[in-house]
């Protein structure tokens, strides 16, 4: 059994005339230690999928099993506990807390975890050791996104979910961020799932999932994924 298993997952939203199926009977498997890339056009259901895996939203039907637990059956409290222990989330617009310094942003997250990775160590790994005392507004976009990744990673979660982490960044900076994510999946044995509509990073993924209109269009496993730095 794979670490993350989705079977026949549907998410529908009521709309004016009929229901819109943001996800329409999706079944998927994702392994630990794998760098998974989800591709698809805007509105294809990528964010919805990520939110369901991350326990931020509930599926309309279907099963989501993570590490043997059925996510769809968890109570609000258990769901929070699940997010707290297992999930690290990286947002498109970073969502760092403006009134906390770079270090403090990571620090309050690391306190949520029973076995965190040291905040300073993670920040150093992200190349932010000189920016610890800066507020988010004083950092560049790339630096903010790296801080946001540090915040997700320091909790030492099993799954890292990244929704368009490079969406607000230029290509070079974006690739720098992605290569950090890729190496995380290897170094810390995390399931790293990255949503993007930038097809050029496809060769770097262990597994590539393409969505279209809420359905899985294609799943492709790379036996020998390329390093991100090589792509650019």
């Amino acid at each position: 059994m794979a670490f993350i298993e989705l079977s026949n997952v549907t998410k529908s939203y009521p709309s004016s005339d009929a229901l819109i199926n943001a996800l329409d009977g999706i079944s998927l498997e994702i392994e630990k230690g794998a760098f998974t890339v989800i591709l698809g056009p805007s509105g294809s259901g990528k964010s919805t999928l990520l939110n369901l895996i991350g326990g931020m939203d509930l599926a309309t039907s279907g099963e989501i099993i993570v590490g043997g637990d059925h996510i769809e059956t968890l109570s609000q409290y258990k769901l929070t506990k699940y997010r707290r222990e297992k999930i690290g989330f990286v947002f498109q617009f970073y969502n760092l807390i403006p009134n906390l310094t770079c270090f403090e942003n990571v620090d309050i997250a690391s306190k949520l975890s029973a076995n965190p990775i040291d905040a300073k160590e993670v920040l150093e790994m992200m190349g932010l050791q000189h920016r610890l005392k800066n507020f988010p507004a004083q950092l560049s976009g790339g630096e903010q996104q790296r801080a946001s990744m540090a915040r997700a990673l320091c909790k030492n979660p099993e799954i890292m979910l990244c929704d368009e982490p490079t969406g607000a960044l230029d290509t070079q900076t974006g690739n720098n961020v992605l290569s950090h994510l890729q190496s995380m999946s290897k170094k810390y044995e995390k399931a790293v799932i990255v949503v993007t509509h930038n097809a050029s990073i496809a060769p770097a993924a262990d597994r590539l999932i393409e969505l279209k209109d809420g359905k899985v269009e294609k799943v492709k496993d790379n036996e020998l994924p390329e390093g991100i730095s090589q792509i650019s």
């Binding site: 929070t80 969502n95 009134n99």
Partner: protein
């Protein structure tokens, strides 16, 4: 323009809690003000009309036995009208209440008398031919169940005569009438007034002895008239009292100004809070609409039309609130306040009438709110469209001042640092929170402190200072047999003479009570430090409040003028007494005689005996309990108004704290959503929100404590009556209770507003733009 209106409507609907807060504050401040004004302005108007319609005198000249010739001489002078009458206190027995005695102030009316007339309420007009007819005080008649054509038996110094009630009347000289200088609250069942014709008086008393001359000047200067009358009367002259010193006028003036001060102070605070709330609400609203503002400007709307648009919010909210307040005040607040005033004042009718000031106040609130909106909009309007159309300015993190002290700063966790920075970033919001807490505490302390101060002062007077059981009010002449009967029937007794007097030092004068005390230990005194002091034969004790008012210190000499007489005394102040009531000075009989006074007791204080009601010298006997009860009635009249104000203020504090909670929540919505995603439990997020609230609470309480004590002192000083010093203090338990109420309110409100964390939809809040 239509688009603007729709937008305004939607914005208000979306931020209704904040706008409701502003609306409520405008409403409450105007309601309180207009409600109180409705009463005082109405009271002022009706009483002035009443004075006019009854043609009240300008001043009263008191005399002993003015002769017919003197009266004629005075009448022949020009420049004023003068009318002489005979006024005496008589006792009355009627068919009601088991034949118990009551007391009437009787005044004779000459044919065609026109000064200080009465208003007929029931029965027949005054006529001098109606022999043995009496026109009786309406309130008194109602309290005793006497009707027109009933009979009352009046007695005066042994003479008795039965009168038939011709009419029930009201007189403007008796708007505030308690029947005795030591009473504070009118007791209509026991004290009233009546009018009879000169012929009836002649028959009743056997002769007419004029002792009051009412004067109304038509052209001449009152002081000059007074001097002329004084000259004619010669030895018969006693004293002159001007209109503004007559209780019927001075009490009304005092109560009107008391209400005015209370209303002004509270309204001022409310308006200030309304403005601050309006400003923060608008600032936030406009912050969220930067994009729209940029867009509108790019579309070519000029700054003025945008400024007008945002000013419209202030206009709509404050104008509806203010006008609603102007409506609610006279309908709700006024009747409550008026009911209290009716306990002490008697008017032919009452009227609630606000003046233009209420509407001016609405205008001021509207203008201020509109301005605060315009100022809040100003910041965004200054930006060029290109800048403000950018989706969102990332809020810059900011160091708090506290951070400059690293060794202190570093002991705090990241969560605390976050809160400190947040507080120092949202300075205005925090300041309003602190003001809300401190202000709430101040007003509640004022309320509880008020009742503590009153009850402690009453306790002091009636349970410590006054050690007697009965106070026997005496008739003018007390026979030696009666005197010894009173002494014998009690285990201890003390004779006392009380007179209204003017106390004067270097031209600063004040009315009060002169108490001359014979031997006995039924009155105890303490100095201002609460050390026991003993009244000696070498000088007087002056009460603290009076001493402060006229600037008297120990060792000074003051002039004492017994009102209604030509008696002036020079007295040396030996000590200042803590006594809250009666305000005035205390001397021993021996000292009084040494400065030229003649001791004629007006009351006897007795302990360990009975009420001596059967002794003919005893006019009335009151227990210490009745006196206390009487005082409590008066205190309650003030308390009710205070409670009303305090209720409103607590409500406001709650609204402010809730409003701030909402503001802060909206501002940090995205941050809380992020925390939820990170896996913070709801309770952890709520705890964080509560921490900020707690900090504001602690600072507010710390600031509020000294302010509230100071405010209590000032406030009591302002609203207290002249005759009684309410010594400002608040018991520890009450203070704890006040702080407790504030803490509970604040925590409950914060808990309520932090419940919204549950409703955060993470997916929506953090939606990224593709």
């Amino acid at each position: 323009m239509k688009y603007f209106l729709i937008k305004t409507y939607r914005d208000i609907a979306r931020n209704w809690i904040q706008f409701l807060a502003v609306f409520l504050m405008a409403l409450l401040s105007v309601a309180i003000y207009s409600g109180m004004e409705g009463v005082w302005h109405g009271l002022d108007k009706v009483s002035n009309l009443y004075y006019d319609r009854t043609n009240i005198a300008d001043f009263w000249v008191y005399a002993t036995n003015a002769s017919e010739d003197d009266i004629q001489d005075i009448a022949s002078l020009s420049g004023f009208e003068a009318e002489a009458s005979m006024a005496v206190n008589v006792s009355s027995v009627d068919a009601n209440d088991g034949g118990s005695r009551s007391f009437l102030k009787l005044r004779t009316l000459a044919d065609g008398a026109s000064l200080s007339k009465f208003l007929l309420q029931e029965g027949g007009e005054f006529s001098s031919s109606a022999n043995s007819g009496v026109w009786l005080d309406l309130s008194y008649a109602e309290a005793r169940g006497i009707r027109v054509s009933d009979e009352v038996q009046l007695s005066f110094m042994g003479q008795e005569k039965t009168f038939k009630v011709q009419g029930l009347v009201l007189g403007s000289e008796y708007i505030y009438y308690t029947g005795s200088t030591t009473e504070i609250v009118p007791n209509h069942e026991l004290y009233g007034y009546c009018f009879i014709s000169e012929q009836s008086a002649q028959e009743f008393f056997g002769r007419l002895a004029y002792n009051e001359i009412r004067v109304k000047s038509t052209s001449a200067n009152p002081d000059m008239i007074n001097d002329q009358i004084k000259a004619i009367l010669g030895d018969a002259y006693l004293d002159t009292v001007f209109k503004e010193d007559v209780p019927a006028v001075s009490q009304v003036t005092k109560e009107v100004s008391q209400m005015q001060i209370m209303a002004q102070m509270f309204s001022f605070v409310f308006i200030l809070l309304a403005l601050l709330s309006m400003y923060t609400t608008m600032s936030r609203l406009i912050d969220t609409q930067r994009t729209e503002i940029g867009l509108l400007k790019a579309l070519g709307f000029c700054n003025w039309s945008l400024r007008l648009h945002y000013a419209a919010y202030g206009l709509i909210v404050s104008a509806t609130g203010g006008l609603a307040g102007a409506l609610v005040g006279p309908l709700v607040v006024s009747p409550a306040v008026m009911k209290i005033k009716k306990a002490t004042l008697v008017l032919p009718y009452w009227e609630i009438q606000t003046s233009f000031i209420t509407y001016a106040l609405v205008g001021v609130i509207v203008v201020c709110c509109v301005l605060s909106c315009a100022i809040a909009a100003q910041r965004s309007l200054k930006e060029v469209p290109a800048v403000s159309m950018r989706n969102k300015v990332p809020k810059a993190g900011k160091m708090s001042l506290f951070e400059r002290i690293p060794f202190l700063w570093n002991i705090f966790s990241s969560e605390w640092k976050w809160i400190f920075r947040d507080i120092s970033r949202a300075k205005l919001r925090t300041a309003i929170g602190v003001v809300g807490v401190a202000g709430g505490l101040t007003l509640i302390v004022a309320g509880f402190g008020f009742s503590d101060s009153i009850s402690n002062s009453n306790d002091y007077v009636y349970h410590f200072q006054d050690g007697y059981q009965y106070k026997l009010l005496l008739n003018d002449a007390v026979s030696p047999e009666d005197a010894s009967a009173i002494d014998e029937r009690s285990s201890s007794s003390q004779w006392i003479m009380e007179k209204s007097a003017n106390f004067n030092k270097n031209g600063v004068g004040k009315k009060g009570l002169l108490s001359i005390i014979d031997q006995g230990g039924l009155l105890l005194f303490e100095d201002t430090e609460r050390n026991s002091i003993e009244l000696a034969d070498s000088g007087a004790f002056i009460t603290r409040k009076l001493a402060n008012k006229i600037g008297v210190e120990i060792g000074d000499s003051i002039q004492v003028h017994a009102i209604g007489s030509q008696d002036f005394y020079e007295m040396r102040i030996e000590n200042i007494a803590y006594s809250p009531s009666p305000q005035g000075i205390f001397v021993t009989k021996a000292y009084f005689e040494s400065v030229g006074g003649a001791f004629a007791p007006t009351s006897a204080l007795v302990e360990g005996g009975d009420n001596c009601a059967d002794i003919s010298a005893v006019k009335e006997s009151v227990t210490i309990g009745m006196q206390e009860e009487n005082m409590n009635t008066m205190s309650k009249s003030v308390m009710t108004i205070i409670r009303l104000l305090i209720l409103a203020s607590v409500l406001l504090s709650i609204v402010i704290i809730y409003n701030l909670g909402t503001l802060s929540f909206v501002e940090r919505y995205r941050e809380y959503a992020t925390m939820k995603v990170l896996g913070f439990y709801q309770n952890e997020i709520r705890a964080l929100m509560l921490r900020e609230n707690t900090l504001i609470l602690v600072v507010g309480l710390a600031l509020g404590t000294p302010i509230s004590i100071k405010f209590l002192k000032e406030y009591i000083g302002i609203v207290a009556f002249d005759s009684f010093e309410w010594i400002a203090q608040i018991n520890n338990a009450s203070f704890m209770l006040c702080a407790g109420i504030i803490i509970v309110c604040s925590v409950v409100v914060a808990l309520a507003s932090s419940r919204k964390v549950r409703k955060i939809i993470m997916v929506e809040a953090l939606k990224s733009i593709d």
